[in-house]
Assembly symmetry: C2
Amino acid sequence: MLYLIGLGLSDETDITVKGLEIARTASRVYLEAYTSILLVDTAILEKYYGREVIVADREMVESASDEILRDAQTVDVAFLVVGDPFGATTHTDLVLRARSLQIPISTIPNASIMSAIGSTGLQLYNFGQTVSMVFFTETWKPASFHDRVRENRDIGLHTLILLDIKVKEQSLENMARGRRIYEPPRYMTVGQCASQMLEVEEIKKEEGEGKHGVYGEESLAIGAARVGGKTEKFVSGTLRQLCSADEELGGPLHSLVLLGKRTHELEHDYVREFAVDKEVWDRIWKRDYEGQQ
Amino acid sequence: MLYLIGLGLSDETDITVKGLEIARTASRVYLEAYTSILLVDTAILEKYYGREVIVADREMVESASDEILRDAQTVDVAFLVVGDPFGATTHTDLVLRARSLQIPISTIPNASIMSAIGSTGLQLYNFGQTVSMVFFTETWKPASFHDRVRENRDIGLHTLILLDIKVKEQSLENMARGRRIYEPPRYMTVGQCASQMLEVEEIKKEEGEGKHGVYGEESLAIGAARVGGKTEKFVSGTLRQLCSADEELGGPLHSLVLLGKRTHELEHDYVREFAVDKEVWDRIWKRDYEGQQ
């Protein structure tokens, strides 16, 4: 059996009892470690499960999946995924490969950022499609997220923005010399995301895309840090304010929610509590959001 | 401390290790039991936690929340919620009340149907807003979901439809006589939902809402049963076919996903596997979905 086991969002005790039992007894245990991270080291997981955990990087999952699936027709193989196995990253390719090899599959779900973001107090019913934000470079500023945000905004919905992480990056020099030396991991912050969003909106304006932008410096949003963890933290404010909220939010992982106009009073009361500046928040809320949809 | 603890979707072992520890040691443990159900009895939970579990019905949570929160400034109170505490049903009102009483709050997230539905193989990124379907009566057929489905469809997104459950219903006679006798719980099936959807589309047509409906008998959809449980089951087909798929799907809880046109080839391969009739599925997929967005 191939078990796809969600680890939840924070530490080693966020696995379900069912998942833990399998992680402890399976023949081999892999940890998918390239699309998200747990806030604890693999060594802590190994100690907690009392066994070896094989870290599966992108290359392994994509090109050595048959090694992961070896003998899974008869023995149990556990594939651990941070969050939910079918959350932000799906592993349909691995499952399709397992199916073709007649390997039975079982999924142990867990919290995903895509549902846990409900702890902002915003109803999940009022979220539109989720988008991702990647680290911009001088020459590469992909703006496809902007269209998705617009689609959500047009029908009054909130947008959850998942922020890029970079693990196992090589410097150009190390790559050229074939040295397997990796840069320290990088996690996008709410501040970086908000600032990139404003940059894209500026570019879109210069390109002449309509008089009214999709969002702006005074759009209301919520920065979220370490959702589901003991040090979970939310900060709400305008995008401009969130550009400098990283210190208050603290360490990774961060996510951002852009507020939609279909917001109930109760949701508003809840989110207002996290405001950087309640007066600014109330003024913009009344002017641009309240009763708009 | 008030702990809001997600129980996950299926049985007593779907709680996280962190959540279990709190459920075993808190001063009082409540189980929210009116918006969703676990597939096991409360007695099984009590045995598993080794303690009493107080079932909190809607009336208790809404009008006796101060009893739930009693002394939570100094002792630990656990409030257990099926799925995730901020998933399909949010408990913002309870949390707002706790905040006003200076009670510290901690959330232990878990799988919610709103993310676990990713196990259909459809990417969560391609889902729009989630909607609910209630049991229709002769005189009450609320169709607000229809507008939401249209909004999602117009931008090519899938729609997750959560299906009604009725617990602690009284017959009119028992209610009139003040007898606290409750009808057996009712769980809406995929077949009932698909059939109600076609009914609403028919009504909308008669009311002259445009020539083209939002969906129809040949719209592709996926019925899901007991997501995240050992007997999880998916059946895909047209809405007409799903009207009679209940036997194949088996017992509660059911959900339904209406397929959007922004569907990747890999998602399609995955979902096709569950088709009632692969030939019908392929024909409609090629005609109405493939390459449409």
